[in-house]
């Protein structure tokens, strides 16, 4: 059975070869599908491959026998219109120079970008350092400004304070030097021995003031205040309350009154009383 198969196969190959399809293949006269078929057969069957080789060989020999020598310009024309991988061997010096120039140019561009990039990075670093140092000095400046502002404030406060003192002292001097003003000295009672208060009374303007600087009174507590009274024809008249805080200067204006015979100060609950508490009489003096 297999013997018959082999015979059949050989017979088939033989008739395939003898069909003339291999000649047409070599002569380039087959459609694509037939070409593929021949190539497949050639791979499968050594006989087909050998036959193809023989046909090719014969056709090449035939062509060789019919050759015509081309003129030399074909050679130069051919060689001049193609390029080689080992070009440096045949390239003209001018062309070589041009090529070298192009390479150099490309390199320069590359270098330019390289340097530009490096310069940018350097600039960035310098900028960062500058920003940090500027930021630090800005902080320092702000701190200095704050310190200067606070010291300026304290100077201004001091000036203000001194200005107030000067104003108070000046108005006190005015009062003392005013001939219309009567200075009444209130002397300490048994409740406050050695205490004293100078009261300035101007009958023309009805103004009453206490000389805070020359005042010598014990300090009152938070629950009590001193109250100034005028005795007018035997009746006490309230002239306002005041505190003793120490280091006070100038005159403190009290309520006005047109006439009085005596001034007196009592210690009263904070805010003052309607009628003086006589057993808390501290100082008293007649005009």
């Amino acid at each position: 059975m297999s013997y018959v198969n082999i015979l059949n196969k050989l017979e088939n190959i033989k008739s395939y070869i003898e069909s003339g399809i291999l000649e047409l293949y070599v002569l380039g006269d087959l459609a694509a599908d037939e070409r593929s078929e021949v190539e497949a057969m050639s791979k499968l069957h050594p006989e087909v491959k050998a036959e193809l080789g023989q046909i090719e060989s014969v056709m090449q020999s035939l062509a060789d026998s019919l050759q015509v020598l081309p003129s030399e310009k074909v050679r130069t024309g051919f060689l001049n219109s193609i390029s080689f991988s080992d070009e440096e061997e045949i390239i003209a010096p001018v062309a070589k120079q041009q090529e070298a120039k192009v390479v150099a140019l490309t390199k320069n561009y590359t270098n330019f970008y390289k340097y530009a990039f490096a310069a940018s990075v350097a600039l960035l670093l310098v900028s960062l350092v500058a920003i940090i140092s500027l930021n630090n000095s800005l902080k320092n400046s702000k701190q200095q400004i704050a310190a200067l502002q606070s010291s300026n404030q304290s100077f201004a406060n001091k000036v203000n304070y001194l200005d107030q003192q000067v104003t108070k002292t000046t108005s006190a001097l005015d009062i003392y030097s005013n001939p219309d003003v009567k200075m009444v000295k209130l002397e300490g009672t048994a409740n406050a021995k050695g205490a004293k208060i100078m009261v300035a009374f101007n009958p023309k303007t009805n103004k009453v003031g206490l000389d805070m600087k020359s005042m010598d009174m014990p300090k009152n507590d938070a629950d009590h205040q001193y109250q100034l009274w005028a005795l007018v024809d035997g009746k006490p008249v309230d002239l306002g309350v005041f505190d003793i805080e120490g280091n006070q200067i100038g005159f403190k204006n009290m309520k006005e009154i047109s006439k009085a015979q005596t001034f007196a100060v009592t210690l009263e609950p904070r805010g003052g009383s309607i009628n003086p508490t006589m057993d808390k009489l501290m100082v008293m003096g007649n005009i």
Partner: protein, 201 residues
């Protein structure tokens, strides 16, 4: 002074550099293929030395004017150089592939308007003006070179080999042209080629 060129065998499992004496300008086919694939100057030189004559012979079978035939040869050589990557060595000889490239170029040239005008101006007597003209005219065996081996063939074989191999007719066209069955065309072609083998052994 000898100049050496190195070729690297890509297809082998290992790299084998070979040194070739370039003064000989002749390479075995695998080396030539390699040199062409690697675009070596040596490859171009060897290609020209080894095959320009045979290829011009093919072109002149189609184009009688040597000037034009040489232009086509040069164009064909450049085309071979540039499209060598399309050549598959497993499918046949380099020469077979090159002949196909050349023959197709020559036929294209003959069919071009350019060529027909040129031919008319040059030689109105020229009987191979174009394929179309030849199709309508009777085949003239005297176009063949007298000294070539084709003369050793029987006339009915010679005509078919020449028309298909050298002039690019298809076997179907030959069958039409000569009014003989397709099978007969194939058989005569095969017999003619077998006959030629005797002379090249």
């Amino acid at each position: 002074m000898l100049k050496n060129t190195y070729l690297i065998f890509k297809n082998s499992d290992y790299l084998r550099p070979i040194v070739i004496n370039t003064k000989r300008k002749f390479l075995e086919e695998p080396d030539l293929i390699l040199a062409l694939q690697q675009r070596k100057k040596l490859g171009a030189d060897a290609l020209y030395e080894m095959y320009s004559g045979s290829l011009l012979g093919i072109v002149q079978r189609v184009i009688a004017d040597k000037e034009i035939a040489e232009d086509v040869l040069q164009e064909g050589l450049v085309k071979i150089w540039n499209s060598i990557q399309q050549y598959d060595p497993t499918k046949g000889r380099l020469f077979t592939w090159m002949v196909n490239v050349m023959r197709n170029l020559a036929i294209d040239k003959v069919r071009s308007k350019d060529y027909r005008n040129h031919s008319k101006n040059q030689d109105l007597e020229n009987h191979v003006n174009s394929i179309d003209e030849r199709r309508n005219s009777e085949y003239k065996p005297e176009h063949l070179g007298v000294k070539d081996l084709l003369q050793k063939l029987r006339p009915e074989q010679k005509v078919i080999v020449d028309m298909i191999y050298f002039q690019g007719f298809t076997h179907v066209e030959v069958s039409d042209e000569l009014a003989i069955p397709l099978g007969t065309v194939k058989t005569r072609l095969r017999m003619g080629i077998i006959e030629l083998r005797k002379y090249f052994k």
